[in-house]
């Protein structure tokens, strides 16, 4: 077990290192960052000086080496746009993103699980059809379109909830629902499929034949076995949502990591972009590791290679 963990952690480090290097390369390919960070009225001289000050005048391999060396010491440099430490900027945004992600997943699970179970039990009937169509719809609607429509409907026209920002629970409602809808669709579909699969299995029919009550059958056998893929999908969605919530964050003015990533790429704010990618890569890898461990725990029959 320990060896497995160690090897996974080593792999995580390698993954993160490769991801950072890739990002470094891409950012440099995308063009001169200095122009975006100095005022438009700057003289050519000022631009050159800033270029030297920020280290962009050095050859690429020097810049890369410097970056790697500093990153190993936990120093991701200073944000070129905000003039504050890049890593602290990223860490500042983390609670916001974590909150939104958690709420979206919670919404997806709390609504999706019962819906999926219901659809499976009532397979073929109206409830099933509606749930299926609903879940497919949830996966098809562009999130930003939905977000804008929701703002227009609930905030502006009906005045029920605030339009954006972060601070009160009410402000969490619209972005959480918008973001969670896609996950809701996946969770519903998956729950339905897993529950169906288990429902049709032989041992369930055996249990029923033995006279066990329907609810016992349901809870004891069905849900227990359906937990596996659900846990996985939650893990997948979580890692997808961290940094993938960009559009929703922009519309609802949610100060999260996704928006930071977009802005730092747009402004070629190298240190912040790299720090953000580092963070996301680490988080996603850790979530994957956690999900794998959880999966192993729930399924002792699986032996890790």
């Amino acid at each position: 077990m320990v060896r497995y963990l160690a090897s996974r952690l080593a792999l995580t480090l390698l993954t993160v290192f490769l991801a950072l290097s890739f990002m470094f390369g891409v950012l440099h390919l995308a063009g001169d960052p200095v122009l975006l960070l100095v005022p438009v009225d700057s003289s050519a001289e000022h631009i050159e000086r800033m270029r030297v000050q920020w280290g962009f005048a050095d050859p690429l391999w020097v810049q890369y080496g410097r970056f790697v060396w500093r990153a190993c010491h936990g120093d991701f440099g200073t944000s070129l746009k905000y003039n504050l430490p890049a890593l602290s900027l990223v860490l500042e945004r983390l609670p916001a993103t974590a909150l939104l992600t958690s709420v979206s997943i919670l919404f997806a699970v709390v609504v999706g699980l019962p819906l999926g179970v219901l659809a499976a039990i009532r397979e073929g009937r109206l409830a099933d059809r509606l749930a299926t169509v609903g879940s497919v719809l949830g996966q098809s609607i562009p999130s930003f379109w939905l977000g804008l429509l929701l703002i227009l409907a609930f905030s502006v026209t009906l005045g029920l909830v605030p339009t954006g920002g972060m601070g009160t629970p009410a402000q969490l409602l619209l972005p959480g629902v918008t973001l969670g809808l896609y996950s809701l669709g996946r969770v519903t579909k998956l729950t339905r499929a897993s529950v169906l699969e288990v429902l049709r299995a032989d041992y369930i029919r055996t249990a029923r034949a033995k006279g066990a009550r329907e609810t016992t059958v349901l809870f004891r056998h069905v849900l227990k076995n359906a937990a596996n893929p659900i846990v996985t999908i939650i893990g997948l969605q979580m890692s997808g949502l961290i940094g993938g919530a960009i559009v929703v964050e922009t519309i609802f003015a949610w100060p999260g990591l996704g928006r930071l990533i977009v802005q730092s790429i747009q402004f070629r704010d190298f240190p912040t972009a790299l720090a953000a990618v580092f963070f996301t890569a680490v988080t996603v890898s850790l979530i994957n590791l956690f999900v794998d461990l959880l999966y192993g725990l729930l399924n002792p029959r699986i032996v890790h290679e």
Partner: protein, 502 residues
């Protein structure tokens, strides 16, 4: 069963950590409080090393200038009492007495000397240097008098000083970076809290030399998506927001709780031609043809929904050197065709670059312009560029064809023509020796009347040479709560010092 308990336990942990992550609620509402919606955050609170509109809009409430523009954009003293030229290379500035920084440090001639000399020193890389670059040094005459020496005649020193903040001497000597998130200024407000990308909260400086302002708390909220920002205004969550796009103006004007307030701004919008690369745009007749082919008034009326004022020459409509006698290019596609024919243009494609949302309706306007040009016989291709990419292309002179762009008329004085058209200025893709000579002659003239005449002539010359397709000066549109007593300014500043609730 165990697994269900396990799963439930995990969810409980998630739930508990959620509670820990719950952010604290914002400020409760008080009557003397104003909430302003911004579309982006400030860079930071360092007054010396930053220079961008959003940052300035916020930090002018914390720091102050020696001189400031009034509502008519005339230069008036603020931290100074007066300023006058002693000779061609020296100015004398008398300072206001009994002004203190928010940490108690007194404001005096030493402060001015420290600030000015820090900024003009090249090694310090101050972004503000460009505003007062001819300044060489400052000398303390007495506690409230400073003499500023310049390397060459600098008739617009006072205009330049309207963009130079005064920071505490201690901070300048220690390095202004300490002001990045802990600003210390002489202004009517102080920073209470900065939650990056969320809110900035300012509170009234009770010891302000001009008396405490009416509004006790100012909160800036960052709401980048314009629909959400306007919705917030209509819902009463914010009381003021700049940059209301034309399509929302009706709604804001008729809502019953808000109204629209506009002011002609100092941003000039144009399509610049790259004449440094070989191509049809190197011929002045082709450039004039572009100006005749485009019906600027129609585009203002339709795409901009009336929120722009056509530019006659290169200067903003609120520039004090604007020549009222100058007439714009007439929209005349037939004349454009004739000019093209005379220049021998045979339909080579010209690219029109445009940024994407950097300027109000830039993409739409560019497409409308391309349409009109095509009808007048041009072959035009529109290309939308990411802002960074476009800046790169313009700076290196590699941009092919023409590009939609904007500049700020910061001095509101004809000398901007040097920044925009003289060979060697950054971001300039045009070069003409005769124009250069005229600029060099006009710039050092100190006598105001002679200066005005020189700039009138210069404007006409530039207009005739058509290095730009002259478009418009933007009208700045603000959405405001109807009970807020406040007036918009042409320099995009909020100036909440004098604002209040009815």
């Amino acid at each position: 069963m165990r697994k269900i308990v396990f799963l439930a336990g995990v969810l409980c942990c998630v739930g508990m950590s959620l509670c820990g992550l719950w952010p604290s609620p914002g400020l409760a509402g008080t009557p003397a409080r104003v909430v302003i919606g911004l579309n982006s955050d400030v860079r930071n609170f360092d007054p010396v090393n930053t220079l961008d509109t959003t940052t300035d809009r916020v930090i002018t409430h914390i720091y102050e200038y020696l001189f400031v523009r009034d509502l008519e954009m005339k230069v008036t003293p603020l931290l100074a009492e007066s300023g006058r030229p002693v000779d061609d290379l020296t100015w004398e500035i008398k300072l206001r007495k009994n002004v203190k920084f928010s940490d108690g440090e007194p404001f005096n001639a030493e402060t001015v000397k420290a600030n000015l000399e820090y900024i003009v020193k090249k090694e310090n890389n101050s972004a503000r240097r460009v505003r007062i670059s001819p300044v060489k040094s400052a000398t303390v005459v007495d506690e409230h008098t400073v003499r500023v020496s310049t390397e060459k005649p600098f008739p617009t020193l006072l205009e330049g000083l309207t963009e130079i903040y005064m920071a505490p001497t201690k901070a300048i000597k220690a390095g202004p970076k300490i002001l990045t998130d802990k600003p210390i200024g002489t202004g009517p407000y102080q920073l209470k809290e900065w939650q990056r990308e969320r809110t900035i909260t300012l509170v009234r400086n009770e010891g302000y030399w001009g008396g405490p302002p009416r509004i006790a708390t100012v909160e800036f909220r960052i709401i980048p998506e314009v629909t959400a920002r306007v919705s917030a205004l209509l819902a009463g969550e914010i009381h003021l927001t700049p940059d209301v796009p034309p399509q929302f103006m009706d709604q804001v004007a008729k809502s019953g709780t808000t109204n629209i307030r506009t002011v002609a701004g100092r941003r000039v919008i144009f399509v610049a031609f790259n004449t440094l690369k070989p191509g049809p745009l190197q011929d002045v007749r082709v450039r004039q043809a572009v100006n005749h082919a485009v019906d600027v008034q129609k585009i203002i009326r339709t795409v901009m929904e009336g929120n722009a004022k056509q530019m006659v020459g290169p200067l903003s409509v609120i520039s004090r050197h604007l020549d009222p006698a100058l007439k714009p290019y007439a929209a005349d596609p037939a004349k454009a065709k004739a000019l093209l024919h005379a220049a021998g243009y045979t339909g080579e494609p010209i690219t029109l670059h445009t940024p994407n949302g950097r300027y109000l309706k830039d993409k739409e306007a560019a497409q409308a312009i391309a349409d009109q040009l095509t009808q007048a016989g041009f072959t035009v291709k529109v290309q939308v560029d990411e802002w960074g990419t476009l800046l790169d292309l313009v700076k290196t002179g590699k941009v092919d064809g023409m590009y939609f762009f904007g500049r700020s008329d910061t001095t509101l004085d004809g000398s901007m023509i040097r920044d925009w058209f003289r060979t060697g200025s950054t971001w300039v893709t045009y070069s003409d020796a005769k124009v250069d000579a005229a600029i060099d002659k006009a710039l050092p003239i100190v006598n105001p009347e002679k200066r005005r005449q020189a700039f009138h002539a210069l404007q006409a010359q530039v207009q005739e040479q058509a290095p730009w397709l002259f478009l418009w000066t933007q009208v700045d549109v603000y959405g405001v709560h109807k009970n807020l007593e406040w007036q918009p300014r042409g320099d995009e500043q909020f100036n909440l010092k004098t604002a209040g609730w009815k």
